[in-house]
């Protein structure tokens, strides 16, 4: 089996690579590439994302054919895919960071700025916050409710269909922090930076 981390110049992905390699050891091959053929033939994909929604979407589009390959992988072949942070946000139809930008549209919804309630809440939402798990998910196997995960973001994904939400976290309001729709998984937090429990989620994804 191989797991491919999509390298599309979305910012810093070293930590994602390190964490997947740590979990995979020698049992699973971890590829890091923007090569379309390798992405197509991969068993599982990881879509990281740092920076703004717009910069990540632009970076995806800058690699000719990548968006089509991702669409095909996630929606036709229905192979497992994990989006992290802006990688998750891009599942939405539309994002409002920098300017109005179309997303991948895999999970209907929008990405908008967290309401800081007139400065009551600092943004970015940085640090360790707890999961309120709403339903079971294979990627949350052996992860207890209230577990801490590491977040750093100012925008939140608001899906239209609330049934895709597998966990929220409390900050300003109930922020969506993990989603699952068939083969598509996403975390707003950074499992690669969430210590042992984060690595457990990565392991769960690899073992799907």
């Amino acid at each position: 089996m191989n797991v491919t981390i999509v390298d599309y110049n979305s910012g810093n992905i070293s930590s994602v690579i390190n964490s997947f390699k740590e979990v995979a050891k020698d049992k699973v091959k971890i590829e890091v590439t923007s090569d379309l053929n390798k992405i197509k033939s991969s068993d599982k994909l990881v879509l990281p994302g740092q920076g703004s929604f717009k910069s990540c979407v632009d970076a995806l589009k800058n690699i000719k054919g990548l968006v089509d390959v991702l669409n095909d992988f996630a929606t036709n072949h229905k192979k497992p895919l994990l989006g992290i942070c802006v990688g998750l946000q891009m599942f939405a139809d539309i994002g409002y960071e920098e300017s109005e930008t179309k997303g991948l549209g895999w999970i209907p919804g929008k990405v908008s700025k967290i309401d800081n309630q007139n400065g009551k809440y600092k943004l970015p939402h940085i640090g360790w916050n707890q999961l309120n798990t709403l339903k079971d998910s294979k990627i949350f196997k052996n992860i207890e409710n209230d577990s801490h995960m590491y977040f750093v973001h100012s925008y939140e994904f608001i899906p239209k269909d609330k049934s895709v939400i597998i966990a929220t976290t409390d900050y300003s309001s109930k922020i969506v922090c993990a989603v699952e729709k068939d083969n598509i998984f996403g975390t707003q937090f950074h499992p690669e930076k969430s210590d042992k429990l984060g690595l457990k989620i990565i392991e769960n994804f690899i073992n799907l």
Binding site: G11, N12, S14, Q50, G51, I126, G127, N129, K196
Partner: protein, 251 residues
């Protein structure tokens, strides 16, 4: 709920951990990779490396330290000291740093903050503010605390937020290395002025100082070096103490 963070800081020189008393009189005390691992296993919410003499010296050793650490520690890693250009930031991030703190370069020219936060995202840009009290105001110092710029620290903090900084690491130069506690006044003034998280630094000598930094200084995170480094307290002890004092921490 969001927890207050405890961040042990390791001062690194030529690839080795040191901790200065007011930035001079350095003592060697270990391998940074091992130290960082001990901290992350002990529940540190983040790890910070400060390459303390980097403004003046060859700093390639830090890249190696960051690369090795990021393969062993799976909590956020912030690296600062001598970061001047977009290329420096890029290199540190590629080695596995999650955030980079910019000090002197941000004071000299805020465009590095504007450009780097656009390119890499605000989430990885921390501006380090070294401030010293002068009458009723605080002034910014650069070059590891050697140069007084005369710039008002609180105004500067606001400017850095507007330039795209994701967090501010505020160090009181009067307190650094003294172990008498954070400059609470400075922390709370800056924290009230900006809407981004503030990390308090400089002067921690006991666990009550950490409590004060959060309760009185309104900091989102507290950074300390010596109390952890010389084994006076473990990160775990610090967290349990904060928890007892009613401060939300990750345990």
């Amino acid at each position: 709920m969001l927890k207050n963070r405890i961040i042990p800081c390791l001062d690194v020189k030529n690839g080795r951990v040191v901790k200065g008393i007011n930035f001079i009189d350095l003592k060697d005390a270990g391998d940074p990779v091992e130290q960082a691992k001990i901290y992350s296993d002990g529940g540190a919410d983040e790890i910070c490396f400060l390459d303390i003499t980097a403004s003046n010296e060859n700093r390639d050793t830090i890249y190696d330290v960051v690369e090795k650490t990021s393969k062993k520690c799976f909590v956020p890693l912030t690296v600062g000291g001598g970061v001047r250009t977009i290329e420096d930031i890029n290199k540190l991030l590629n080695c596995g740093a999650d955030k980079v703190s910019i000090n002197t370069a941000a004071v000299q020219n805020s465009t590095v903050v504007v450009e780097s936060s656009k390119k890499f995202g605000s989430q990885c840009i921390v501006v380090a503010i070294d401030a010293k009290k002068n009458d009723e105001k605080w002034e910014i110092f650069t070059h590891g605390g050697r140069n007084n710029t005369g710039i008002d620290a609180i105004e500067f903090a606001k400017k850095m937020e507007d330039s795209g900084a994701g967090e501010l690491l505020v160090t009181s130069m009067d307190r650094d290395g003294t172990q008498v506690g954070y400059d609470i006044d400075l922390m709370s003034k800056i924290s009230s002025k900006v809407n981004i998280p503030v990390i308090a630094s400089g002067g921690v000598g006991n666990l009550d100082h950490l409590v004060d930094g959060i309760k009185l200084g309104k900091a989102s995170a507290v950074l300390a070096a010596s109390i952890f480094h010389y084994g006076k307290h473990s990160v775990k002890e610090a967290k349990e103490y904060l928890d007892k004092k009613g401060i939300p921490v990750r345990i």
